[in-house]
């Protein structure tokens, strides 16, 4: 492994933590944009931190960074991954600690111009550096399957693929899963986002089983469409932070607990809220499920 300036600095620092080889470095990716990668990263980061896990969320979306906004940390960024890589700041200076949840820190994305020279090796360096201070490193991956994705994927041990039950999102997720498989990244788990129970009940949206069948991944979480997600983004306070009982917040907390190895039963709301039409169609033997 290449040892850049900042690592050498922290090695000389008597207060530096010992290298934490057990940190889990998890890529959060989707292929398609706008399906909820950054929202999952922010909420899962808070939820893991609340479980007492030292967590760093790493914004690998250098082109269109947004993780700072979702966490409400946009005004507190001084240094970024760029200065860390250049060795012009120390790790502690670049990490932005969350105000209300001190177990969580953000490693902000650098300047978009970095994309011109950033390599997979650079991302690996940043991820390994922050992993020294963390139990969990969540990498917020850029959309697409180009260089930005490749850089982020090179830095992770395991991956969470997030998708919605829509044609293009599922197809793009499948491309990404193929690429992760070819790089030997394991395990890869699925989070299904923005499920609309009513539509699923009426068979106008693919069901949870449909999507898990198609993608053949273990389901780590199921998040129903929830307006509170937009409200929380406006405020810069992830839903998991305030423990309000919104359905999406519960789902993100459950993802965190399952990630920790806890057995949390999967609650599928589409199994309960069957519309009248669906029940009628079912009676007539027309439902495919």
């Amino acid at each position: 492994m290449r040892r850049p300036g900042p690592l050498a600095l922290t090695c000389c620092d008597p207060l530096a933590a010992v290298t934490n080889a057990t940190a889990r470095i998890i890529l959060i990716c989707s292929g398609k944009g706008g399906v909820g990668k950054t929202t999952l990263t922010a909420n899962l980061g808070i939820a893991l931190a609340q479980l007492g896990q030292r967590t760093v969320v790493l914004d690998a979306d250098f082109g269109l960074r947004n993780l700072d906004l979702l966490l409400g940390l946009e005004n507190r960024i001084i240094y970024t991954a760029q200065e860390l890589l250049a060795g012009s700041c120390r790790l502690e200076q670049a990490l932005v600690k969350h105000k209300q949840q001190p177990n969580l820190a953000l490693m902000p994305a650098g300047n978009p111009r970095m994309l011109e020279w950033l390599t997979p090796e650079d991302m690996r360096t940043v991820a390994n550096l922050v992993a020294e201070r963390a139990d969990y490193v969540l990498i917020d991956c850029p959309a697409g399957v180009e260089q930005g994705f490749k850089n982020a994927a090179a830095a992770c041990h395991e991956a969470i693929v997030i998708t919605t039950p829509e044609m293009s999102a599922v197809r793009d997720a499948d491309r990404v899963i193929g690429l992760l498989n070819s790089q030997g990244i394991q395990p890869i788990q699925l989070v299904l986002n923005r499920v609309r129970p009513r539509m699923v009940a009426n068979q106008e949206m693919m069901s949870v089983a449909d999507v898990t069948d198609l993608l053949a991944l273990p389901l780590l979480g199921l998040v129903v469409e929830d307006e509170q997600v937009i409200v929380s983004t406006n405020r810069g306070e992830p839903l998991t932070l305030n423990g309000n009982g919104s359905p999406a917040a519960r789902a993100y907390h459950n993802v965190a607990r399952r990630l920790r190895g806890e057995q949390v039963p999967l609650h599928d709301p589409t199994r309960e809220r069957r519309g009248l039409r669906a029940r009628l169609l079912n009676k007539l033997g027309m439902a495919g499920n």
Partner: protein
């Protein structure tokens, strides 16, 4: 869902769009994963049929070679109804 669509579904004339989405994706994912373009697939299909026809007489109308995917494993599935074996197949090919 509009009433008209609902009636269409009741009458069994129209599949629900969720079911349609899954079926369309099953096909498109099989092709995406195999990385074969349609021309190559068609060429392979023709060559497979040629080889099989050397040994047995098959029903070309009913014959079907396609890609199917299950659990991330893509398989080439050939369904070729055999009319009868060719007598020539009993004598081993010269090459």
């Amino acid at each position: 869902m509009a009433l008209f669509e609902f009636l269409q579904r009741l009458l069994g004339r129209q599949k629900p769009s969720g079911t349609l989405a899954k079926e369309r994706l099953q096909l498109v994912l099989a092709h995406d994963r195999s990385d074969l373009n349609p021309e190559l697939l068609e060429q392979m299909r023709r060559e497979i049929l040629e080889v099989v026809q050397k040994y047995v007489e098959i029903d070309l109308e009913e014959g079907d070679v396609s890609l199917e995917t299950e659990d991330r494993v893509t398989a080439l599935v050939a369904n070729l109804p055999i009319k009868r074996a060719r007598p020539a197949a009993l004598t081993a090919p010269s090459d």
